[in-house]
């Protein structure tokens, strides 16, 4: 328990610097944003900046170790300590953000586009095609997600993008179900019937009314999926199905640190805490989307 506290306060001091420079803007924001939501946005913003410009946050290299500085405890020189090859852990986490984030974006994007398309088609066309699509989705849902992504990776080969695709495929079913239910709801509404009644063709009504009105909750779901995609990609990385070493992918960091858990607990704990924070932040943000919509 104490170890956890130390790590969090360490991570906290680092974030504190950034927060200070934003103090004015945050002051104004905080009046409109609940503190939890503001913190969530802040976490996502920082992780995004890590991905875009990692060099601004650390001067160490993510892949080259420093001789004689192996397995150092967290201190002023190495905020989160170093790993068995003398690489700065904080630098590795910062440089790893881009892998986890692009992975999550590709995965959510794939699920969003393919899943929503399937759901919208299923919800708006005749019964037979609807049945066919939805039974396919049921089959997808019935396979455990991890097993499904592992099978896909084995078919496609290892790598960051392939891992992302594998994760994306598992979220197709969820998007398809949600999109279909929304489309069915919107399709029953008077304004859709009125649009047909004023001479709208099938595709025109779909584009003008059904799609915009059913997408709101799908977008909120995408934000929620973002968090779980980060988690799933890390899981695949941990199992060795993601990016190959020495890529500083978060899941891989956790896996590599596992060997030293008794002597250098921070190697596993720090990236783990980062993953947890990102997932929680994404959930909180998606929740706020849902509230705004309803």
């Amino acid at each position: 328990m104490t170890s956890f506290d130390t790590i969090q306060s360490d991570a906290g001091t680092d974030r504190h610097a950034t927060r200070h420079s934003l103090a004015d803007r945050l002051g104004r924001l905080q009046r409109r944003l609940p503190p939890g939501l503001a913190l969530s946005w802040l976490i996502l913003a920082i992780v995004f900046l890590w991905a875009v410009a990692p060099a601004l946050f650390t001067s160490y290299s993510a892949v080259e170790g420093i001789g004689g500085a192996q397995l150092k405890r967290p201190d002023a020189a190495h905020l989160l300590g170093t790993d068995a090859l003398g690489r700065d852990l904080y630098a590795r986490i910062v440089y790893g953000a881009v892998h986890s984030l692009t992975g999550a974006f590709v995965a959510v994007g794939l699920g969003l586009v393919v899943g929503t398309a399937l759901g919208v088609v299923a919800g708006s066309v005749g019964r037979r095609l609807d049945d066919a699509i939805m039974r396919l989705v049921d089959v997808l849902l019935s396979i455990p997600p991890l097993l499904l992504s592992l099978s896909i990776i084995i078919l496609l080969g290892f790598g960051t993008v392939n891992a992302a695709i594998a994760v994306g495929v598992t979220s197709i079913a969820g998007f398809a179900r949600l999109a279909r239910s929304e489309v069915v709801r919107v399709r029953r509404s008077d304004y859709v019937e009125a649009a047909f009644g004023s001479g709208g063709t099938f595709w025109a009504v779909l584009w003008r009314h059904v799609l915009p009105n059913s997408l709101t909750s799908v977008i909120a779901f995408a934000a929620l999926q973002f968090g779980s995609a980060v988690l799933q990609i890390s899981t695949l990385g941990f199992l060795g199905y993601g990016a190959p070493p020495p890529t500083p992918e978060w899941g891989l960091l956790i896996a590599e640190g596992r060997n030293y858990i008794s002597t250098a607990w921070w190697l596993t704990t720090a990236p783990g805490v980062v993953v947890v924070l990102v997932v929680l932040a994404a959930n909180r943000v998606s929740q706020s989307f849902g509230k705004v919509i309803s």
């Binding site: 008077d190 304004y191 649009a195 001479g199 709208g200």
Partner: protein, 550 residues
């Protein structure tokens, strides 16, 4: 019956009551110093339109204001005791016992997972009056008293097994259980059909006479107030506009707003402003120019899994509508009127029978031909809150039909939309707004504009004014009349409200249980009803028998 002259303490005395709601940052006052009193055994009607504060006032009396509401000042005296500052715990002792409430919507006011008997018995248990066998006997007696058949059986049923009228009777049974001195009836019948409404109001009247209970009747319908109340309190924007005995207020209203309400209430309107229906009908000898012809229409719905024969929602209905006239389809819920018009506008294929609109037989229409047919006939929906896409601007909504039939230039489209917007009486600025920024009446105007932009020959209005306040309703009816005269439109007007039908229609068909029971020119149907059912419907129009308007 009118106010008692002796200085006895009134059952309820509300004085200078002000209520505000918390909205975002600050409290906003919505009821500004309302005062009135209810004497023992009296019926006082609180009349007003939506937003007038009538429901808020009624809720505050029994301490059921929404969580963001509060009583700012004033007193609510029950038998001389001010209860306006009482806590919930204190109020519990009088709720049900001294004051009870008959809520507005019988559909959602009963607990769906408890039996009727349990729910009626609950109030006796809470107030610790009876238990066990005595309680059961009392519940059955109460259900019998409010006119439910087979009360022992009803007590074991669940709310979904009862019709709307029966549920409202159950709610009344709960309200009268402890013989309270005051019953607050908040729009007790606005969700019910007219004939059911009449029976429920008769029941409340009867119980009042029997128990000597005072009734505070909250209603938007001046006709009901005229029929049932001793005194009328007219509210507008949270202020009392007028108060007095029902006869005085209706016969010689003092405030301009009351006069307006009386003029706009279809059930009370004595003189019909538009040309008499028969005068506008062409000569019987003239060649018939029937634009809508429905013959032997049958619409059956299969009942899968029950093994029963198909449900005949519409059973051999025939009627004709002359070009340029208004035909009304009248009936209560479940009479098949909506099913009929859905077939007429081509949303549903009839099981059998023929429908011809302007010479086109709908049976042979498919795909593109059906789409082209829609230029001739347009539907305006009942609920303007559901029939407009919340994400489109008013301009987008009205423009859309033009886009569907292509080949209209952008500038021309804009000119057309703007001109039709003016036609339905909306300012140009509304074009850029979205539906949620408009009032109910404005939305219905947008819906009418959308229907008219394709220059159809027939406009079908499905209960198009029933969701609106009376004054708004009157304006929309005026607009429809004006448009008909200028554009030569034919209306097919669906309504459950005979008073409105008498105002607007030339010919009428009365439907019941999917069958046509009566039909013909409006004057004829109203003066010499061809069926008992029609007579019952006409008698149920509230306000009709009031001495002032008889």
């Amino acid at each position: 019956m009118t106010s008692l002259t002796n200085p006895r303490v009134p059952v309820l005395e509300v004085s200078d009551l002000a209520i505000s709601y918390h909205d975002g940052g600050a409290y906003q006052e919505v009821v500004h110093g309302v005062s009135f009193r209810v004497e023992a055994g009296q019926v006082v009607a609180l009349v007003g339109e939506s937003g007038s504060g009538k429901t808020t006032t009624a809720q505050s009396i029994i301490g059921l204001l929404a969580a963001n509401g509060r009583v700012d000042r004033g007193a609510i005296k029950l038998n001389g005791t001010d209860i306006s500052r009482w806590s919930d715990k204190q109020l519990d002792t009088i709720r049900g016992a001294s004051i009870s409430l008959v809520p507005q919507d019988p559909g959602s006011s009963l607990n769906p997972v408890k039996t009727i008997g349990d729910q009626v018995g609950e109030i006796l248990e809470i107030h610790g009056k009876l238990r066990g066998k005595d309680l059961e006997r009392r519940v059955v007696a109460l259900l019998d008293r409010v006119g439910l058949s087979e009360p022992e059986f009803r007590a074991r049923q669940y709310p979904h097994e009862l019709s709307g009228g029966m549920r409202q009777r159950v709610l009344i049974a709960i309200a009268i259980t402890l013989k309270p001195q005051l019953i607050i009836a908040d729009e007790p019948t606005s969700a019910l059909d007219v004939t059911v409404q009449k029976r429920i109001l008769d029941l409340i009247d009867e119980l009042r006479r029997e128990y000597g209970t005072a009734v505070l009747l909250v209603t938007h319908d001046l006709g009901i107030a005229a029929d049932r109340a001793d005194r009328v309190v007219v509210l507008q924007g949270g202020r009392v506009q007028e108060e007095g005995s029902a006869i005085d207020v209706l016969a010689s209203p003092r405030s301009a707003y009351t006069r307006q309400l009386i003029a706009d209430a279809p059930s009370l309107a004595r003189s019909v402003t538009r040309a008499p229906a028969t005068a506008r009908l062409p000569d019987e000898s003239a060649p018939a120019d029937d634009i809508v012809v429905v013959e032997q229409l049958v619409q059956a719905f299969r009942r899968p899994g029950t093994g029963q024969p198909p449900l005949l929602a519409v059973d051999k209905v025939s009627f004709r509508v002359r070009r340029g006239t208004t035909h009304a389809l009248v009936g209560e819920s479940g009479s098949g009127k909506t099913t009929t018009i859905r077939a007429v506008v081509g949303f549903q294929r009839p099981t059998s029978g023929t429908i011809r609109v302007d010479g086109t037989d709908l049976a042979n229409l498919n795909g593109e031909a059906l789409r082209q047919f829609r230029r001739k006939i347009q539907l305006v929906y009942q609920n303007p809150y559901a029939s407009l896409d919340p994400r489109q601007t008013v301009f987008g909504i009205i423009e859309e039909p033009l886009l569907n039939f292509g080949a209209v230039k952008r500038t021309e489209r804009r000119a057309k939309v703007m001109s039709i917007l003016g036609r339905v009486g909306l300012p140009e600025a509304t074009a850029l707004r979205r539906p949620h920024a408009l009032s109910g009446g404005q939305r219905q105007r947008v819906a009418i504009a959308r229907a008219l932009i394709l220059e159809p020959q027939v406009v079908v209005l499905d209960e198009a004014v029933s969701a609106l306040d009376v004054t708004v309703q009157a304006r929309i009816l005026d607009l429809l009349d004006e448009l008909q005269q200028d554009l030569g439109l034919t209306y097919l007007f669906v309504s459950h409200d005979l008073a409105v039908v008498r105002q607007i229609a030339d010919t009428v068909s009365v439907l019941r249980g999917g069958r046509l029971v009566d039909g013909g020119p409006v004057a004829q149907v109203f003066e010499q009803p061809g069926s008992d059912y029609t007579r019952e419907l006409i008698n149920a129009i509230p306000g009709r028998n009031h001495p002032v308007f008889a």
